[in-house]
Symmetry: C2
Subunit: 111 residues, 2 copies
Amino acid sequence: MTDPLDLAFSALADPTRRAILALLLEDDMAVTDVAEPFAMSLAAISKHLNILSRAGLISQERRGRVKWCKLEPGALKCASVWMQSFGQFEPVNLDAFEKFLETELPGEACD
Amino acid sequence: MTDPLDLAFSALADPTRRAILALLLEDDMAVTDVAEPFAMSLAAISKHLNILSRAGLISQERRGRVKWCKLEPGALKCASVWMQSFGQFEPVNLDAFEKFLETELPGEACD
DNA sequence: AGGACAGTAAACCAGATGGTTGAATATGCC
DNA sequence: GGCATATTCAACCATCTGGTTTACTGTCCT
């Protein structure tokens, strides 16, 4: 599976990974700090971060023993363009951003 | 896995399913006709269509012995709003639509 | 009724996915 | 040096996924 759209969409298909992206939206974070809110081993989070990285959704830069994770919205744009091709949706207002933060982080999403 | 975003993104993660959506973009189609361009059994396509249907990306209506499949962009909108929350991408122009048809159908996508 | 066509169901298979644990590898600090 | 911290590696496991084939259920046509 090497198609960038395959990578992007299947990376986004996992709720843990979407939650990680939501965390990184606020700030760049170290792997350990990304893992902190999740009831899951550090190794599992590390794998998720690798998947996000291969999909181009985040970048990781090692400084010392800490690896910093940073949101990289380029791949999202690619996928977003693909999706918009279908719907001719009205231009999305940025209120969606706040609504997103409220709905996704607790649990369910997209009303 | 019952979260609508999970369903939408994982449905979109498969290139066969994206190609099916691209077919349905042009016209509503019967299951057999959807399957025709793919080197894959009818049963496999039927499963793909069920996945797309559960994700809300298509609807299926049985008329006689033929089941008509129709693009249903509502779920895409939900996922698209989610994605746009990240990037603050510029409003997508509809040229993307044509570029999409050229790039996705042959093979690779999204340069 | 009987046959052809449209689609699904069921059983199966190989490989991917998402998680675990425990050991290993760096790196920073005293 | 020696220890704690940050992260990954490796092996393993259960479950999901995407495909197959064969058999089945409807529906249409004559």
